[in-house]
């Protein structure tokens, strides 16, 4: 009897791997292999322009990077963008989710359709759109808001770090808030109506209901949304590339990696930046999972 069961189990395992194997192997090939290659390359002093001078230097590339002020500045800019955009998106996305959750039936479809458009639009297109709005030559923001002190026809938003980062973050927030608000909407839908109604009957104010009933019940959704957005924001590239290409102290880590390896063909040094970026992403995930107890697998459907 048990022999029959185990034979069936073996067949099921074989079929399982036969079906799932190709996807699994391709995922390993397109990511695990390149990242291992990057780790290996990062140990060499290697420029594509001088391939014969390839030399094993162990961790020297990392030393060069960590002692360079540009790396720390870029890390700071990346962290700033991550923290600000995720914080704003959480508030804005929650407000949007509330509107969608409570919106009258007749307009619910319209709101959801509208909000999906930023999600679907190419980031590069969104970046150009925001760039042209604020650009000193083709923009209309300056003439619309010239009543605000400090803004005039000759305000050049892309001439210093502060204002450039403001526009970069605004476009990032516009583009990705829909995603966070859809996740939060799914979380809101999971809060049992009886709980909110019971609280209302007991005389709890809107704010009390929010704090005591709704938010605690959607903690998992909030955490997952936060983590995924934070990881995304940390990898920001397209907006910065289009708007400033890293000028005036707006460079982010992804751009540094790109500029070093593909721009200047310093494969060794660039690979080291790539590996550092990858480790940062792992750290963020690890901290989120441990500290905030995000059950990543559970909330993504693994039983």
């Amino acid at each position: 009897m048990s022999k029959v069961v185990s034979a069936r189990q073996r067949a099921e395992t074989r079929l399982g791997w036969l079906l799932a194997g190709p996807a699994f192997i391709i995922m390993l090939l397109v990511t695990l292999y390149p990242i291992l290659q990057a780790v290996w390359d990062s140990l060499f002093s290697f420029r594509l322009t001088a391939p014969d001078d390839r030399e094993l230097v162990w961790l020297k590339n990392y030393g060069v990077i960590f002692s360079d002020a540009i790396f720390w500045r870029d890390l700071g800019v990346t962290l700033l963008i991550t923290v600000v955009t995720v914080a704003v998106e959480l508030v804005l996305g929650f407000a949007l989710a509330l509107v969608m959750h409570k919106a009258l039936k007749s307009v619910r479809g319209l709101v959801r359709t509208a909000i999906l458009i930023p999600y679907g639009i190419i980031t590069v297109v969104s970046a150009f759109s925001w760039y042209y709005m604020f650009d000193i030559k083709s923009g209309f923001i300056n003439s619309w808001f010239d009543w605000i002190p400090g803004i005039g026809a000759d305000t050049n938003w892309f001439a210093n770090a502060g204002t450039s980062l403001f526009v970069i973050m605004a476009s990032e927030i516009w583009k990705t808030t829909p995603f966070i608000s859809l996740l939060l909407l799914a979380g809101l839908a999971q809060v049992p109506d009886e709980l909110t109604e019971a609280a209302e009957v007991d005389g709890a104010t809107w704010w009390e209901r929010m704090k005591r009933v709704i938010l605690p019940n959607m903690k998992a959704a909030i955490m997952v949304a936060l983590l995924f957005r934070a990881l995304d924001a940390f990898r920001i590239f397209d907006n910065v590339f289009i708007m400033t290409n890293g000028a005036y102290g707006t460079e982010v880590l992804s751009l540094l990696a790109y500029r070093t390896s593909i721009g200047r063909l310093e494969i060794g040094l660039g690979s080291a930046v790539s590996v550092i970026l990858f480790i940062c992403v792992l750290l963020i995930t690890f901290v989120a999972v441990k500290l905030f107890k995000v059950d990543l697998a559970g909330s993504r459907g693994v039983k």
């Binding site: 190709p22 995922m27 397109v30 290659q37 009258l104 980031t123 516009w174 993504r300």
Partner: protein, 281 residues
């Protein structure tokens, strides 16, 4: 009293809805207006063009910039579609196995998919750039399709696994009891239930491939494989003296049209796909 209250609420909700719609569409409207401006109008400092002109569209569709734009459009459509099809076929098999069969390694596969989806693209692109140049995949369609799988496969597996878990697989057995063959039972009972999920996943995967920028600018160098987002970034305009603002805006609008059409047609499915793949409680 109560009636007045609902009218007031209705007005408030209407305002909230308008605010949301304006928020979502304003940047798109802005670039749409820019795309209709004549070169002399581009610097008028206004939102609207003084005269609506199609000169920018002519430039990229039939004019000087035609070769550049149309080839990148062809590349984008071809590469994104092929990457989507491969990802969805492989992910369907994989998600079916995960939802339906019991075998060791299931969790490993899902965790790997999750890990791949948090990989920074830029970390993968440096070694690929080097390897692709050595083996001749640099600046080819295949050279982009393969890395695009790292973007489209994980989310496809997650979304489909979430969809497939909700399918009542007993239907299949019931159909077999009623005399259908294995294949008939699967085709009649399961395929109709699974098809919407597969289709939704394909749309989401296509959006992701269509949106790629880092691979596009790093692994291509000519019109042979350069996709639209990368072409936009390197677009230099018709002449040295003319800013390409208008042409880029027109091109941006053209590549946004498929997105808007898909969203309008399938908004309900896209929302359920996105939230099921991401948060499933």
């Amino acid at each position: 009293m109560a009636k007045k209250e609902t009218t007031k609420t209705k007005v408030l909700w209407a305002i909230a809805t308008i605010v949301v719609v304006v928020y979502a569409l304003f940047p798109v409207a802005s670039i749409l207006m820019t795309s209709f401006k004549t070169p002399s109008d581009l610097t008028n400092g206004k939102f609207l063009p003084t005269t609506f002109s199609t000169v920018n569209y002519e430039q990229i569709l039939v004019g000087d910039a035609q070769g550049l734009f149309l080839s990148s459009l062809r590349n984008s459509i071809g590469i994104a579609l092929i990457a989507t099809v491969i990802a969805v076929v492989l992910a369907t098999l994989c998600a079916y196995a995960i939802a339906r069969l019991d075998f060791p390694g299931k969790k490993l596969i899902l965790t790997t998919a999750l890990a791949v989806s948090i990989f920074p693209v830029i970390s993968i692109v440096t070694p690929l750039f080097n390897v692709w140049r050595t083996i001749g995949l640099y600046d080819t369609w295949l050279g982009l399709i393969i890395p695009y799988l790292s973007l489209t496969l994980p989310i496809s597996i997650w979304t489909l696994a979430a969809f497939f878990r909700q399918i009542p697989w007993e239907l299949e057995q019931a159909a077999q009891v009623d005399g259908a063959t294995h294949w008939q039972a699967f085709r009649k009972a399961i395929v109709p239930l699974a098809a919407p999920g597969v289709f939704t996943t394909a749309i989401i995967a296509f959006f992701i491939a269509w949106n790629d920028f880092v691979y596009g600018i790093s692994l291509t160098s000519t019109e042979a494989a350069r996709p639209v987002p990368a072409a936009l970034a390197f677009f230099t305009g018709a002449s040295q003296f003319e800013s390409p603002t208008g042409a880029i805006s027109a091109a941006a609008i053209i590549v946004t049209i498929p997105v808007v059409v898909l969203v309008l047609l399938f908004q309900r499915q896209i929302v359920s796909g996105l939230t099921q793949g991401a948060v499933k409680g």
